[in-house]
Symmetry: C2
Subunit: 467 residues, 2 copies
């Protein structure tokens, strides 16, 4: 066989032919290429496959091989059709980025695999795979047993004399992110004001931008918001809703005192308003338990969202949204229009996991493990990165919220840390408006906690150079 | 043991005590009730449990038993906080109702269990339950392999000379309903005009109401819309998007001819607009194959939604949305803000099912089974319910769309059929505005097709009485 009949040679000859042909032109048949090059059909096929892999031709089985259109598509017309966006949705934050395996990843928003109840989830999927959950369409408000579980969880924190929520107050939703969008659409609406803690969870900032509500930031920190500031913001804006994370807030880790919870609830009542309570870190208490404000309210003022995706499994996109009265009706109508219902398999798996006795055991182990990691990261920072100022050590949640000296260039610090293999989140992603300081968020639930001292050392070195 | 110490007697005595006590009051301790009634602790517990089951008291383990607040909660304040809705979301349609087991259910929007690839789905869940899909968070745009599958499906219908879509053009979304909401929000927006076929899929009407777009109905029927009417509607409304189901539309079953598809595509191009193509019935061809208009377009004019929930399993809430250029960016931003990502398990299961050779076998069997059911229902109606006028027999989809005589009271016919055990959908649910006639939708994919003749007989009898 001559050199001329190698796949590479045939491909090169064909490339010349293609360069002169119009897009969509049909290549000579395999048979004629075999004859032309004195090659075997296998060799010709290899040549065609290499051209297809390069995107030069496309093959349509049974029809032939065609010159692929090389022109870049022009979608410029879409600019006029789409118009200016009413409200820009921000880019996804650092918390969702994936990191190289050898990096010290302090940026994630999610607990790593070792912190998940993997065996429980695996067993639950295997069990549920044998049931009718695979073929049944569950009710739009959720599986009754799962509604009951969410209601019972909140009831267990409800004081005597307060009417507990009923299972029928629960709407099961496909993850808490959709719950935030739904609550903001159903209770607030585009162009209307919504109070939000600042800083606050980036997912809520994203949902607020998507819905197009007018965000009214209320300063908050490790002790939660000042209830007088909440009251003033209600008065000045005319808002009828306040989004907050009273238990282990992202990013500060704040846990509202019972007194603060009572005062915020009073304020909300006085203004005929809603508290949209995001209890995302419910399962991540370390040295304290979560304190759902919703448990204190039977007047329909608190709309409560409890997620299971973060603590059960990222594959189990299930959350419970609890609301009463007309608010629940609006929320259910929006949730139905958005997703009709939540996968019965995911609901059954979530229910299976959280009703196993081993779930409680897992939560106790998780509590201990998170505390160990938190302590290691705090000590590492104190020892190796004294420029990182921790306002306080959180009692729950997955993050440390720390301030850097005002003089440093935050973007540059983050970039230099990244170059040195340490990934951290810029605090600006947690502010609905301008950041009030040079903050960073450090997650201690990512993989490889043994590298925390090294990571802290790197941060310390970068800061020392930046000072 | 005297009568006085039975659980019922103790409960009756406690009811009197409770009636005089304020809500939240603590009941006497079990010990004192034991002493008072000369009963065993077990008997007292039984009495308390019966009161708790009646909702009269609530027990807090370790604390005691309390009088439950009897007052009805007053959520009237929410009326002011919520205000009038910007746009009312309609109630869920008949298609989502559940029916008694012995009813002839011609109303459902979903294929029954016997039409699903149950064994494939079960095997896929069992396989995936062993993988890392349980603990991994997939990319926000979807699993790359599933993106590739959706792209390849559309590419297989793409003519030579048209640039096929790329896997990166695909956004995996949690069900097509969310895709409709996302497309309407991202491409149209609240208050802006959107052309829709009329009649059309109720889920799209729901999504349009949720987003608050201004719906511009375009008359359509078994032959699809008149392209001149589409063009006029674009001109008169200034709309930049047209929602349609070109392959086996719900409810009419319409399959656009290649010529019609070409003319609509030309019209859309001329108006610098989008066709939002909902290919929901892609897998439900009987005597024809679906003809995705998106395959004809490489200019970014067609935004294409392909669902897998209906044909794979109601538990596998997975769909693919395909768009190019800036439109895809806006769609992805909205989808991320709504759900961040789609469960990796559901994506892996969907991919597993549709890439099995047995999936093709299932689709062939489904094709045959649907056709048999369709023919049986058509014949039954012709024989027993001559008042039901079928404009045409659909070549795909799950439904017959039929017209009743103008003189009958549609609501009453539907009610009387229901009383006689035959559940049918009122055509009004498929009209974005006023219905143009007395239509009904009859689904032949529900359970128990053997009852079609009986069902048709009942409809015929009800119509005969109504005439």
């Amino acid at each position: 066989m001559s050199d001329d009949s190698s796949p590479a040679r045939i491909a090169a000859t064909l490339r010349q032919w293609i360069a002169a042909a119009p897009p969509g032109a049909k290549l000579p048949s395999t048979r004629s290429l075999v004859a032309q090059h004195g090659a075997s059909p296998v060799t010709v096929q290899k040549a065609l496959r290499s051209l297809a892999a390069q995107g030069v031709v496309e093959s349509r089985p049974g029809v032939g091989t065609f010159v692929r259109a090389a022109r870049p598509n022009d979608f410029g017309w879409q600019t006029a059709a789409l118009g200016s966006p009413n409200h820009r949705i921000p880019e996804l934050p650092t918390a969702l980025q994936s990191a190289p395996n050898d990096a010290v990843a302090l940026h994630s928003g999610y607990p790593e695999r070792a912190l998940l109840p993997e065996r429980l989830v695996r067993a639950a999927f295997t069990r549920v795979a044998r049931t009718d959950a695979l073929v049944d369409r569950p009710p739009t408000a959720g599986l009754p047993e799962l509604q009951s579980w969410f209601a019972a969880e909140l009831e267990s924190a409800t004081p005597a004399g307060t009417t507990p929520v009923a299972p029928s107050d629960v709407v099961v939703i496909p993850g808490s992110q959709g719950g935030l969008s739904t609550a903001f659409r159903a209770l607030v609406g585009a162009g209307r004001p919504l109070l939000m803690e600042s800083p606050t969870y980036w997912g809520a900032i994203l949902a607020a931008a998507q819905v197009g509500v007018e965000v009214i930031p209320v300063p908050s920190g490790f002790n939660g918001p000042d209830p007088d500031a909440v009251s003033r913001a209600f008065e000045q804006s005319g808002a009828r809703a306040f989004y907050a994370q009273p238990s282990f807030a992202s990013p500060t880790g704040a846990l509202w005192s019972p007194e603060l919870a009572g005062r915020v609830l009073d304020t909300v009542r006085q203004h005929g308003a809603f508290l949209i309570e995001d209890d995302a870190a419910h399962d991540f208490g370390m040295t304290a338990d979560p304190r759902p404000v919703a448990a204190q309210d039977d007047g329909g003022h608190v709309v409560y969202i409890r997620s299971l995706s973060k603590s059960v499994s990222p594959a189990v996109r299930v959350a419970g949204l609890i609301a009463r009265g007309p608010a629940r009706k609006r929320i259910l109508a929006d949730a139905q229009a958005e997703s009709i219902y939540v996968s019965g398999v995911l609901q059954a798996v979530a229910l299976d996991v959280v009703t196993q006795p081993a779930w409680r055991t897992h939560l106790r182990r998780l509590r201990h493990e998170l505390k160990t990691r938190r302590d290691l990261l705090v000590e590492s920072l104190r020892e190796h990165a004294p420029g990182v100022a921790l306002e306080a050590v959180p009692q729950g949640g997955l993050n440390l919220w720390a301030r850097l000296p005002d003089a440093v260039d935050l973007g540059r610090v983050i970039q230099e840390c990244k170059s040195a293999g340490v990934i951290i989140g810029a605090g600006s992603e947690w502010f609905p408006a301008e950041p009030t300081g040079q903050y960073i968020r450090l997650n201690y639930a990512g993989p490889n906690p043994g590298a925390f001292p090294d990571g802290a050392r790197t941060i310390g070195q970068v800061l020392a150079r930046a000072a």
